[in-house]
Amino acid sequence: MKKPNTVESYLRHTKMFTQTEVSFDELRHLVSDRALTGETVLLNMGPQHPSTHGVLRLLLELDGETVINCIPDIGFLHTGIEKNMEAKTYLKAEVMTDRMDYLNTVGNNLVYCLAIEKLAELDVPPRAQGVRLILVELQRIASHLVWLGTHALDLAAMSLFLYCFREREMILNILEMCSGQRMMTTYIRPGGLWRDTPVEFEDAVRQFLRLFPPRIDQYEAMLTKNPIFMDRTKKIGVIAAEEAVKWGLTGPSLRASGVAYDLRKVSPYLGYEQYEFDVPVLQGGDVYARYQVRMEEMRQSVRIIQQALDKLPYGPVRSENRKYVPPPRSELSTSMEAVIHHFKLWTEGFLLPEGAVYVPVESPRGELGCYLESDGGPKPHRVHFRTPSFVHLQALPLLSKGHLVADLVAIIGSVDIVLGDADR
């Protein structure tokens, strides 16, 4: 069977079930009967709304100011990354992973590279592991800082936003120092890193570690005991442990409900088992508990980075397996074999053995999983990302039922969604 080359010819040649019209009847089962009589109001929130943290559309059924039903509508940022990756070699496809969750770019690269390494049984040198871990933890802090700033901004604490972005800038500078890019780094590559860190890397990270812990205390001084903040967040958006597991919550949102599920502890990757750190767990399950868990997580990340930096060994940052990792530039002028490997890798790309793996990692938002399936060729047969934002958005109706519209803003902020992550 020949593959049609345009969408139009595809549609001409296939007869399949399509859905062409949507009317209110399609959504009828999602709203209450009172919406039909006009007793409750249906209101659109978003997709262009400053508090929805991106292009998220919520169809709200309101009784006065109380949310009766909330129907999330996503897909406005759908860019077909999974489809596009199937048409690119493994190495080229990695560039697209950065663009999914734009606050956790290093983590996206990591999960994709871990999946490739698992499928290829590729080794990673210890120094590369250490640098990866430091960068992923720095990225976790940066992501939490954006979350904290915007979450506080939603709750009318404006000044915190500026402080958070000041510290985030230091992290982005470190990423730029390593990779030349502030956000879309693609620094982690299958089998190691793109290149070794520059000499000033260690000092920059140490300076950040010196400055940052007192700053967390400053943020907490502004929010933790602030009566306005507490009124807006306590007992809001409560979800019990059992419900949270059922609805697939992971990460800080799950740990705030009392389930100690952290992939860095339960199935360690990158050598997390060598480092001493705690997993903050709270029982509240509300917006305030989620806030506390994330604040504590930033402190723990600092601890991990400190240990990793002290232990960071010297040595190569890329695997010696030339079937997957390109040879260094210096070898190209002396070794014929290196030239052949280089040519193969940059034209055809590497071939992965046939099979499928699922690799989960702990992203700042929760479980980020990569399902990678190979048919033995140079391009992925299927890549699927299980993204935390997608799953957390699904629980939004559950969290927001019965709360005020103003609280809905707090709840959206507290589950920390990134729409690029949800829509892919």
Partner: protein, 191 residues
């Protein structure tokens, strides 16, 4: 509520029995009871099930083997192979056992229908909508099977392997007429 965050040094408060071979034991039990094929690849265990068995197996897994968490649900297209054409892939996780299990359900091209697991794990709702949207696999008994990522009036299912990536066809002398007609129709008829 004002207590300091309680921190855990131990692996997990919910983990009661961690056996490294828990997934193997569970897979064997399911194979014996339901006759499912068991595959192991890179330390991951997957069970291949017929669509008819799925409901019963997932209920057993949740109730008897404590697989309380559906981690991921997706599909894969093996076109031009038609029977089976798709695999629906479920990634399960058990908090008490700290173990993972993968279920694969082969689906034919002619009637791509799988029973829903929404009643077992509510989180499956959106995952199944996504698979329906991207692959056109229907989930029987699903409460709200609408498109989720693509626009509601989109035609076709983009992640199917025979669905083109959507580039513009280059106009050469041999297909000049073909494309010219299409351009024309696009511009005037649909306006």
């Amino acid at each position: 509520m004002d207590e300091k965050p309680r921190t855990e040094q131990s692996k997990d408060v919910l983990i009661t029995s961690v056996r490294p071979d828990a997934d193997v034991l569970i897979a064997d039990a399911i194979r014996e009871r339901f006759g499912a094929a068991v595959n192991e690849f890179r330390g991951e265990i997957s069970l291949v099930l017929a669509p008819g068995q799925l409901q019963e197996v997932v209920r057993t897994l949740r109730d008897e083997f404590a697989f309380d968490f559906l981690s991921s649900l997706t599909a894969s297209d093996y076109w031009p192979e038609l029977e089976p054409r798709f695999h629906v892939v479920y990634q399960l996780y058990s908090h008490p056992h700290n173990t993972r299990l993968c279920l694969r359900v082969p689906v034919n091209d002619r009637s791509p229908v799988v029973p829903t697991v929404e009643s077992v794990w509510p989180v499956a709702n959106w995952h199944e909508r996504e698979v329906f949207d991207m692959f056109g696999i229907r989930f029987e008994g699903h409460s709200d099977l609408r498109r989720i990522l693509m626009p509601y009036d989109w035609e076709g299912h983009p992640l199917r392997k025979d669905y083109p990536l959507g580039y513009e066809e280059p106009q050469f002398t041999f297909n000049f007429e073909d494309i010219q007609i299409r351009k024309h129709r696009g511009r005037y008829e649909e306006a």
